[in-house]
């Protein structure tokens, strides 16, 4: 299944506790993973001076490698190495591509056009709903790349999941799930889409893994959309990587001073594309989707929606006053608009148009 070179590379990433820098130095010295595997002691002592790491005997190395490959196939995981044909080209182009990616699910998604949609955990509900919708529309042409956190990431996953064009990159091994509450979403992605991680299966979640994971999110994708980003958000880190790698950055605009959108506005200021609907992204790539069916609206619903669009966000009581109706006549209208995907409740009995 994996040739000797690939096996050696997988062993290097999964069975040694070296850091990435050491791995790259060793590979550079040995020219090929297989040579490194065969004469690991020699290279180890010549490249890494301190002698912190134990090389082990060749039989030990072989046993560790085979054991790991066995568990990999046992659990239904696969490994894509830098040497594999289907290693994503865009990711290969970044300065420090992961040597091996472990995956679970639909491997063919690696070949598709990829677009990254991410958002912070505290995403306002209307932005979540809008992000979900855009993810759904984009997933007709792109594989959506995102994380598995709550909030913005989950919205992107929910949007893209029905089409199956979804890749989630995890900041931990494929066995785990962080946060644990997302287990069912993770299962759904493994079934319909693809889970990726650069860490061996049992690796727990660590703070610095998020940073490293974000480079993969940006590296895999042609462009990215920031659904929401606070002052110091992981989303901004991903956007930084995307800019560094020369990928397009799109962002939702936010009200001045809105805590959940400071990062988004910052990037728009720096030159990111302002995005309010899927059209903005699709037209950038010269893609045209067939026009969606217009939604049937009653006259009252249309009036309520028009008022909402005008104000952006309105309290039920304000709406009732504007339309000259009672609250209990307005509440059903808003629920109807919400069900039709045109409005969303944004807390405190206020509604926003989408």
């Amino acid at each position: 299944m994996y040739d000797a070179e690939e096996q050696a590379l997988i062993w290097l990433c999964a069975c040694t506790d070296l850091d990435d820098r050491a791995r790259v130095l060793l590979l550079r010295a040995a020219k090929s993973p297989k040579k490194l595997f065969d004469a690991f002691e020699t290279y180890l002592s010549s490249v890494i001076k301190e002698g912190k790491y134990r090389a082990g005997t060749r039989t030990e190395r072989e046993r560790a490698r085979d054991e790991f490959l066995d568990t990999l196939s046992e659990r239904g995981y696969f490994a894509v190495t830098l040497l594999s044909d289907d290693y994503p080209a865009a990711l290969r182009a970044i300065p420090d591509p992961p040597l091996v990616l472990f995956g679970m699910g639909n491997r063919s998604l690696l070949g598709g056009r990829k677009f990254c949609i991410v958002g912070s955990r505290l995403t306002p509900s209307y932005a979540e709903r809008q992000g979900e919708r855009i993810a759904a529309q984009l997933s007709a042409r792109f594989v959506i790349v995102t994380g598995l956190a709550e909030g913005g990431d989950s919205a992107a996953v929910r949007g893209a999941l029905p089409s199956g064009n979804i890749i989630c990159v995890l900041p931990h091994g494929l066995d785990g799930c962080y946060p644990a509450t997302q287990a069912s979403l993770k299962r759904a992605v493994a079934q319909n889409g693809l889970l990726l991680s650069e860490y061996p299966s049992a690796e727990p979640v660590r703070k610095h893994h998020f940073y490293a994971r974000n480079r993969i999110l940006a590296g895999l994708s042609e462009g990215m959309l920031m659904i929401s980003a606070g002052q110091r958000s992981g989303v901004s880190i991903t956007a930084n990587f995307a800019l560094e790698y020369g990928r397009d950055v799109f962002a939702f605009p936010y009200q001045i001073g809105a805590a959940q959108g400071v990062g988004c506005n910052e990037y728009i200021k720096k030159g990111a594309f302002l995005c309010t609907e899927a059209e903005d992204i699709l037209s950038h790539y010269g893609i045209q989707l067939p026009k969606a069916q217009p939604v049937d609206l009653s006259a009252e619903e249309a009036a309520a929606l028009a008022a909402l669009r005008e104000e952006g966000q309105m309290h039920l009581a304000e709406l009732a006053q504007r339309l000259g109706r009672q609250i209990h006549e307005i509440a059903p209208l808003m629920a109807a608009l919400e069900i039709k995907g045109l409005a969303v409740k944004s807390g405190g009995n206020r509604y926003s148009a989408l």
Partner: protein
């Protein structure tokens, strides 16, 4: 000589007959009490001795044996004092010619011979009446609660001496006149919806909740009037009927929390603090099993302020009573069933800091904190709360043009009308309100048109509602249709009901 006097002991909400038998005999002077009395009953020996002496009568210096029959029931409290004293007087031949056999004596004695109030007089008299007793002598202090019972001669006495004079025919005590039950007669409930400023959304929700007997959860930042709204709930509930009032009064009488008025004329509103234990909530105690808060809230409202602050085990204990309307408490002293059909109204903040979802304040909670906070309330409990509504902190001064606040009484008229429709609907079943409907009733009374069914289906797809929300939505829609006086559930009713599934969307 032997004397036999009738008395009644409390067993849950029922009275069990107890015969007080006293034998005064020649022999070494002694005073024994037998028949499984507890400490408070044994101590009655001393109270009875002093009360008899201080009332100017003779305490016999003989061999005295008092037996409380049947001997296999444990007797508690001071309710037997009067019966013991009377039987002693009778046995020592100080009540010659007085007919005491058909009278039930209830009351505690003070050392000077005064009669003191005891708990549970109302359920005791009701049980005794059912067993054919017609005459009762009770302490004056318990007269208030007893006066609503017709069909019995109830004599309120102030002292032991009064009782003796009455029995000997020296000075008759006037029997209580039966009082007419008037709901809301105390007028102590000062809350009214007209004092609640704004909150039109929540107002509507509590109207629906009361109309259909649904449980209610109010979510909103601190200081937005959640408690105030909850206090208005009893004011828009239908008036108590006499039977309901009697049942509630029985519970309150046993618990010893009756007011001066004697009968509960307003629907109870109980607000146990969130440090309440499971036992105080559900009822319990060492040997005497007291009714808990949920039984005291029977027929009224149990308001749990800051729901996530309650102990989880306490909240979970509410699940079964919420289904059955009764609570069964088992203790060493026996197993007791108390009624507990109440309307649950709960309030909580949207997140630990309270600002989540607020228009102008920033929430400082992390996603994990918010999740943990909400997880404190379990799914099965939420499942029993049909309406979840947001109470917001919008300033209504800006909207003052429509700020004519409706009074509780006019809301109650609409509620009464909706309840009337429900009474007709459930004529042949044991249910009273829409909230109590089971699957079978829902099938016959809540048939949905194709349009409504489609709406529900798309609501589930679009809004990620949990599966358990479905029947809740339909029941609430049924109530909204009743308020609207519509025979069939219409799309707008479904839509409105969907808008009250807040927690499902919060996830």
């Amino acid at each position: 000589m032997i004397a036999q006097i009738a008395c009644f002991a409390l067993n849950g909400l029922e009275g069990v007959p107890v015969q007080v038998e006293t034998d005064v005999n020649k022999g070494m002077p002694s005073y024994e009490m037998v028949g499984l009395p507890d400490t408070a009953v044994k101590e009655s020996k001393e109270r009875v001795r002093s009360a008899i002496k201080n009332s100017g009568m003779l305490f016999p210096i003989s061999k005295i044996t008092v037996n409380l029959a049947p001997a296999d029931i444990r007797k508690e409290g001071a309710v037997f004092d009067l019966a013991v004293a009377i039987s002693l007087l009778k046995a020592s031949e100080q009540l010659v010619g007085a007919a005491v056999e058909d009278i039930v004596f209830l009351g505690e004695l003070a050392l000077n011979g005064d009669l003191r109030a005891v708990n549970g007089v109302l359920p005791l008299i009701i049980s005794a009446k059912a067993r054919g007793y017609k005459k009762f002598i009770i302490p004056c202090a318990n007269a208030a609660e007893a006066r609503y019972l017709g069909g019995a001669e109830i004599y309120p006495a102030a002292t032991l001496l009064d009782v003796v004079k009455h029995l000997l025919g020296i000075e008759r005590i006037e029997p209580l006149e039966t009082a007419q039950f008037v709901p809301h007669s105390s007028g102590k409930n000062t809350a009214d919806l007209k004092y609640v400023k704004g909150q039109p959304v929540a107002r509507r929700a509590i109207e629906i909740a009361v109309a259909g007997g649904h449980n209610l959860l109010m979510v909103g930042p601190p200081g937005t009037g959640k408690t105030m709204l909850a206090r208005c709930l009893p004011t828009i509930m239908p008036d108590l009927t006499f039977e309901e009032a009697l049942e509630i009064t029985k519970i309150h009488s046993v618990a010893g929390v009756l007011s001066e008025e004697g009968i509960v004329s307003e629907r109870p509103f109980r607000t146990p603090h969130h440090t309440a234990t499971t036992v105080s909530m559900c009822g319990g105690g060492n040997r005497i099993v007291h009714p808990g808060e949920i039984s005291l809230a029977h027929g009224g409202v149990l308001f749990l302020d800051e729901l996530p602050e309650y102990k989880r085990s306490t909240l979970e204990a509410l699940r079964q009573p919420l289904e059955d309307g009764t609570i069964t408490v088992s203790r060493a002293g026996g197993t007791f069933t108390y009624p507990a059909r109440f309307m649950l109204c709960a309030s909580m903040n949207p997140c630990p800091c309270g600002n989540y979802g607020s228009a102008n304040l920033t929430c400082s909670c992390s996603a994990g904190e918010i999740r943990r906070y909400r997880k404190k309330v379990s799914g099965p409990l939420l499942d029993r709360i049909d309406l979840q509504v947001e109470v917001d902190n919008i300033s209504y001064d800006a909207l003052s043009s429509q700020a004519t606040e409706e009074e509780s009484s006019s809301v109650r008229e609409r509620v009464n009308e909706a309840r009337r429709i429900q009474r007709c609907r459930f004529e042949e079943s044991a249910h009273k309100t829409n909230a109590e409907m089971g699957e079978r009733e829902m099938r016959s009374f809540c048939s949905l048109s194709k349009e409504c069914d489609d709406i529900l289906r798309s609501a589930f797809e679009r809004m990620h509602l949990s599966a358990r929300a479905r029947s809740r939505i339909i029941k609430v829609a049924r109530t909204i249709a009743d308020l609207d006086a519509c025979e069939y559930i219409q799309p707008k009713h479904i839509f409105e009901a969907v808008s009250y599934r807040l927690y499902d969307k919060m996830g």
